[in-house]
Symmetry: C2
Subunit: 568 residues, 2 copies
């Protein structure tokens, strides 16, 4: 049940190993980070033969538990220079389970001009076939070609032109239940790591025959239903069901942490033009293929995803999430959902992270290469990324590099990864989380904002961030969607019951959190071994020297405080 | 005699301080590195208000001693993230001395859109005047405008469009005896630091009235003549007198360390087309303004500089040095001196370092953005730099960033600074020096090649590199041209006699070397405090994994060995 499939990308050799241990029981980020730490020399070149790319599903993958099929992708990140896990929804986690796999590992790296390959994993064999026909194409076309060749039910993984060109903002796209590669493990440049191994796609066929085994099926079903009712009762997840993550626009505008004008302001006049209600109304009004609710995997009781249609009702982009609406919207002073949707679509096609590219366009605008609020210029910059022009290369190299090339000091990132959509001078809890994450700035790593009584003070935020680091990491450890956390944050029992009922393994909540904390320790150790120092866990100097225009706050967090927030 | 002029670039406030101490006695890099260490917080943003820019001349500046007027410019480098000293010839050091200055310091930094200023330093006052009329212009035009306004004899310092745009490969141009700003402190992005302070030029008027004071003038003149005869007797400096540094082309081709095809080969077929003899013959044949010998400052008994003319005899570029001929020639498989001269001229006009840009074009060619050996493409890339296009911005951001943006792993640099013109797998002594320099890869930091019996072995190279680190640093400490070292490397007495005769200060050779070693310690400490770790003192992984095609050698130097070479 806990098999590991190792694929050498140079020789094509495939090995199937048994990974039957407690480590493999948990899966997700806990597993990927452990494997990264054990098997990758921390100081290696992310694009060299010593780096590896791990795909890990979770302990409840393939079961009836809501939102449990996420796949964690782990590696050394070219973007941050440190450890990376980025996870995605879709059907890949499920298809891995059906093939009896907990982990797939891509090893070694061929010469840079080697033929592109597709890895095809089926019940009888795993093979590397010619992938040249996909090269240079956008992710939408790649996705269609993969569906055509391997069927819409296959679990497909691919990269865009950005990943093929080793650009640091490139992600990995995983197929959704409709066979569209639209679920991104977007962060950290993992698409470029896959590109460096000359693997243009990986397909897990839908012919897997492994059945999920339960120690106590009845107990499992009962516990699984319990999760659903917890999700249905919870006010946060139910709000996401109606509005998706777009609900955050109004919340962040109210708290004055909506990133605006390259993270100089915390509110945008006219933010209501891109808020959840406007999006909901637009989708409803246009009808057609539009959906205000959509599941990235089945089963899911939240369905926070959506389908945003063109005026004529045809699908324009799916999904559009809050983070993108802020980084590609308010951050650029853009107030048009159609513009954001177009940019998001081009980003998906190019295979890049919307946050990193949105932030990079923000610094380009600050450098005067376009005006803030210029919709056409913003779309045109995204097209440069898709076409891999010199300008596009800069924009898809991450905001840290883009800011250096454009001569801009105010660069919103930590460890090179763009800040998510919470202006950190207005929320010291999120600021603390950004500064504590071994993955670079990451909101899912410890989401404090909803629990900050006074967001602008740093008092108590070390403890608050650490509390949510544990809560968030629990979800990652199980391959569960982060939004499940709202329902189990105070009581892990429903999840531990599921482990017990499936595997006949008793894990106490303390033991579980020990796993999670071990993971955090390992991740930070990897970064230290990779040459990342305490000085790297900082915002750019401008965040400390210049007040945000709405909260009038600066960053006042010290190196000692961030060090404490990284100590486990 | 040891005055320090402090200029606040925000308020315009000017302070003249007395810096009378042993520290100020030595000057040059010893002084600039001490000031950087004492006054700049190591972890600051190089473009922020906490960084400073120091200009320091040396102990023998303004005297009759050959090649003694170099000016050391010190700061925190945006290119390497660490300490930086880069020095230049020309008349700036002399004009400082005549104004009674050992050091000029630019402090603070105005807002990024503030008006450009020119600092004008005269005997009666120092003022900041409007510099807007220079903005956006090339260095040749700036130089003409400055000469027109302030006279050809003024010591002028300016930056090009690259520095104005904060690009990391930008240098600082200093005027030569003809009033042309052609003597570059090219390395480390110091032009961008000056740009970040919104200082587009600094002029030291030729109205200075300080006379050089001597404790014992007769003894000084005697010791000064001794230096000239040592230089005239020395085979290396006399060879430089005839051929300039271009003499290195044949030497490096013979030892198989001539960087070729983005540092993959160590020889180039047809290297004789760009060697010293061809250059000498071309200059002689074309006549006109061409000069095979030329002095960057007076007096100079070496005169390694040259004037390379167009076919019609008009000045095309002055000087052309070996490092440029390799990085912009063989490294790009270009075999035409006219092409190299044109590229060099454009680099001087844009205000960028020829090594860093040549290396960046090399990785662009490896990425397939142009063919190796394509003269027109190479010239056109330089024009992109001059015009600050997106492509030009990438190429002028240093080879480390350029390689990331272009997706190239084989990036010839240490600490972000491009490798000079000695392929390190073929000379482990130079490799050791590159890996030990706190300034990033730098050949002047400890030039071992002429003293390596067996260049490909690493045996004994820690000691050899350290020996030449001290020898090179002695010259830097006095503001002397590096090429003087050949004449005094085994016996410092002639220089110490000069110090005694001028200042009535006795320094023993041991004391002198203690100063030098203290400087090295301070420089490394600054880098450590800036977050640079042992892992940063490495070549890219490709230099360790892939053999150079001519020597068949890889880098086999360990972190422990480089750490030893940095330990003083």
């Amino acid at each position: 049940m806990f098999n590991v499939l190792r694929i050498n990308t140079v020789t094509g050799e495939v090995k199937r190993e048994n990974g039957n241990s407690k480590q493999f029981l948990l899966g997700g980020r806990t597993l990927s980070s452990q494997l990264v730490s054990e098997e990758i020399p921390a100081s290696c070149d992310p694009f060299g033969k010593r780096n590896k790319l791990f795909f890990c599903n979770g302990a409840l993958s393939g079961t009836t538990v809501s939102s449990s099929d996420r796949v964690s992708i782990g590696s050394k990140s070219p973007l941050t220079g440190g450890i990376k896990e980025s996870n995605a929804g879709g059907v890949v986690g499920l298809r891995m389970e059906q093939q009896g796999l907990r982990t797939i590992v891509l090893e070694d790296a061929p010469d840079k001009d080697s033929q592109w390959k597709i890895i095809v994993i089926g019940k009888d064999k795993t093979e590397l076939i010619d992938g040249g026909f996909l090269a240079g194409k956008g992710v939408y076309e790649k996705s269609d070609l993969l569906s055509e060749k391997f069927g819409k039910k296959a679990g497909c993984i691919t990269i865009g032109p950005a990943g093929e060109n080793l650009l640091f903002a490139s992600g990995i796209a995983c197929s959704d239940p409709h066979g569209v590669c639209s679920r991104y493990a977007g962060r950290g440049g993992l698409g470029a790591v896959m590109g460096s191994k000359r693997i243009i796609a990986m397909v897990i066929l839908a012919d897997g025959e492994e059945k999920v085994q339960y120690f106590d099926k009845e107990a499992f079903q009962k516990a699984s239903k319990r999760i659903v009712s917890l999700l249905k009762e919870n006010p946060v997840s139910t709000k996401f069901t109606k509005y998706g993550t777009a609900a955050m626009v109004d919340i962040c505008q109210a708290v004055k942490v909506l990133p605006t004008r390259n993270f100089t302001n915390g509110t945008m006049e006219g933010a209501e033009k891109i808020n959840a209600q406007t999006m909901y109304d637009t989708i409803k009004e246009r009808g057609g293929e539009g959906r205000t609710q959509h599941a990235c995997m089945n089963p899911c009781a939240i369905q926070c995803s959506n389908v945003y249609p063109e005026k004529d009702g045809k699908l324009l982009c799916s999904p559009i999430e809050y983070e993108t609406m802020a980084l590609m919207g308010s951050n650029l002073c853009l107030k048009n959902l159609d513009t954001i949707a177009k940019m998001n679509r081009i980003a998906n096609d190019a295979g890049v992270d919307t946050l990193d590219c949105g932030a990079a366009i923000g610094v380009a605008m600050e450098a005067g290469l376009a005006e803030f609020g210029d919709d056409e210029a913003a779309i045109s910059m995204m097209e440069e990324i898709l076409n891999v022009t010199p300008m596009g290369r800069i924009l898809a190299s991450g905001v840290k590099i883009a800011a250096k090339v454009f001569g801009v000091r105010h660069a919103p990132h930590v460890l090179g990864q763009a800040l998510p959509a919470y202006e950190p001078r207005g929320t010291k809890g999120m600021a603390m989380t950004y500064l504590s994450s071994p993955m670079g700035a990451d909101h899912t790593f410890g989401f404090t904002l909803r629990d900050e009584e006074d967001p602008i003070t740093k008092e108590g935020k070390v403890a608050l961030s650490k509390k949510f680091q544990v809560i968030g990491s629990r979800m990652d450890a199980m391959g569960l969607c982060n939004f499940v956390r709202y329902s189990v944050r105070d009581d892990m029992t429903p999840l531990l019951d599921l482990i017990k009922a499936r595997y006949d393994v008793e894990i106490s909540d303390t033991e579980f959190d020990d796993f999670v904390k071990d993971t955090l320790r390992m991740e930070h150790q990897f970064n230290t071994d990779a040459g990342i120092t305490a000085l790297d866990y900082r915002f750019t100097e401008t965040f400390y020297d210049v007040a945000q225009t709405d909260t009038l706050e600066k960053i006042d967090i010290t190196d000692e405080e961030t060090a404490e927030a990284r100590m486990w």
